[in-house]
Symmetry: none
Subunit: 218 residues, 4 copies
DNA sequence: GATGAATGAGATTTCATTCAT
DNA sequence: CATGAATGAAATCTCATTCAT
């Protein structure tokens, strides 16, 4: 039942790094893990690039693995909960008149967030995909956490008649697959790529109307 | 300008593995690279699991890196060209009456292919995402190769009035993003997952009509 | 219930070292562990003194700890079983007329054996005393194994009237304490010390008659 | 000719530890050294367990080695001199009528002392046996110091006719070997073992009369 | 006096690769 | 073609010790 990585995730408070050198280690690690991957980055390289001794890294983070978690955990703690509360509820209850608008706001918000944390996002995705143990522990965490966040919204707009009359889980599967592919392709495959408002709008339109022509007219 | 990996890709003929032991090495490597990633699999482990000596591996493959390429290259050589010729042209000229039908056939075909080569697909994706040098060399190869394959088809169905009136590159971006997300999520994140006909149909419908309700009516 | 070190002890067959280099590693380790102790001997030192690379050590022995066991285990397997069968039974049934004679023979035999394996004996004792985990696993092994070997003999000579009329366990406790102290002091504290026939005879006399004067006569 | 450890032993006065934190460091070190040995206990562990900073340890003790000496030296200074004066002389001149009684008193006294200082005794023995340099410096110290303490007594009781007519050094060798084995086995191998009056009496009887039956009779 | 961040030397361990058989 | 012992470079990690605060 015990899940050490999730335990670590939960245990990690909001404590930010105590010293300048620790901060430099984390920042450097993010950059190097994002570029070459965790397994291809040595602690010696990190130490050199961060201008600290290797001892310092291990003094503070214990193991290289825990250094990785020290990067991933706060990101995970920020990414989904924030999505849950700030984005979903706030957006939904006050401003949003339509699912289309909700989707547009969500996309803009998450694109902005990931653009700001692009390298951590890369590290996170790469390691979740690459390392079986991380996948085993984190993927269920998401698949349990994320769909419920959206189910209510989808149901609501199905009732209002805006969304197609399919079971919410099937709607979400398509939607999340597209959004996942969107983020991964844009932030992992196309580096240095900047997502424009127009592109977000294309995605929104694609989600809403698909590719066939005469959806609306006549 | 020289590109060693592409060179290797092109140089590699259709030669299949000569000896039983070589075959076992390749098969074992695929399994282990798929599960733990290239960087986390040692040649000693492969040798043990394949029941050969480490010497044998290096006799045949020279380096561990070349062993990886010996796995990836034939896969790449199969995946896209086959897609190009067999699927696209054949499908298009003879059977296909609509883009929707083309998309359905393409998806079924590629789902079948990847299901058969699931582990190699995992190795391929993981390493392309994980290792900068591989990404730098292979991603442009795809972005140059793949869109042209589809441009004609998209244009054709735009003219026939089935597809929305957007520039082909924007249509393709949305489409390929979705399809990429579909394959990656189904084959990398959800292991042991079997894709049903129904699910393919859901994707097709989503691509064609999106999520909003009143696509057709009134 | 499982006991990894005992498992290793039992698993270890009579296989002697396969290669010359491995033999040199073991021999060098014994010398260095005996002199400076396991914890104060680095694998780098061993490699240098044995004329092999560090890699070779770890290729064959896996860990430094397993190298230690590779030394201790065959020693343990030789020391006690041999004592049990060859020394006790053979000596007892055929040659021995008295407990005194049995004790004399036993002492000579074991002194000869340990003199031949002095350094391994030192390593063994030092590590059993020094490291809690080894003690926890090996001490019960001895306290279960050794006393039964002697109980019969003691009982037999109690009946024949040669030995004092005390419970065998109390006799053995005194006897084994003395013998243990004898071996440890002579082989661990006094190095380069050679045990003479006379000294063995003194021990035998001490065991039999103690230090008080008027044991026998008048 | 200079002997740093002996120098330290002599230099160390009766100064007890000045601050609470120093006391905690020493106490914690004794426990941890006794359990895992000096070499397997890090100063970081000691600091954590003692609730002080690592800096504090080095502030007071300079080096880890000196911390060990700060434990061993007062013990050595207590153990033998006290034995010399209080036990030997006092006991001898006033109360003791026989060697047997002297031995009994000595054993009771030392058993009580070591029982009280069991962990320090363990540290002391372990490190003397384990580390060559300590052995080289401390063993001669004992072999020079201890036998003279007993020679007079042995000679006296040889003259009085109680003890066997052997050279004192041979008598002492047997006796000290037994006593050493007794203390080491009881306090190092059998932990949590409590030595009873009966057991002491058994040892005394063994020393005086040995194991053979008809010492006295007829 | 006390702290604990930082260090660097060195320890153990891993691993792709070589090569004699 | 096949082996597996051997290597050495590099990786992760440990730890006594220093020092600014």
């Amino acid at each position: 039942m015990s899940n050490p990585i999730l335990d670590a995730i939960l245990a990690q408070g909001l404590t930010k790094w105590k010293t300048e050198k620790q901060r430099r280690v984390v920042e450097t690690s993010i950059k190097m893990f994002a570029e070459k991957g965790y397994a291809n980055t040595s602690t010696a390289e990190i130490a050199r690039a961060a201008g600290v001794s290797e001892g310092t890294i291990f003094k503070h983070f214990g193991t290289k693995d825990h250094l990785l978690l020290s990067i991933i955990v706060p990101f995970v703690n920020d990414f989904f909960p924030v999505m849950a509360k700030e984005v979903l509820n706030d957006t939904l209850s006050e401003n949003t008149k339509s699912f289309e608008q909700f989707l547009r706001d969500l996309l803009k918000n998450r694109v902005a967030f990931i653009t700001e944390n692009k390298e951590i996002f890369q590290v996170f995705i790469k390691e979740v995909i690459y390392r079986e143990e991380l996948k085993r522990e984190l993927v269920p965490y998401f698949t349990k956490l994320v769909p419920p966040l959206f189910t209510n919204i989808v149901e609501q707009f199905k009732e209002s008649g805006e969304l197609i009359d399919l079971p919410a889980d099937r709607i979400l599967k398509s939607l999340l697959t597209l959004l996942g592919g969107f983020f991964v392709s844009r932030f992992l495959l196309m580096e240095n790529y900047i997502i424009s408002e127009n592109e977000i709008e294309d995605v929104v339109q694609f989600v809403m109307n698909g590719l066939s022509k005469n959806q609306t007219a006549e």
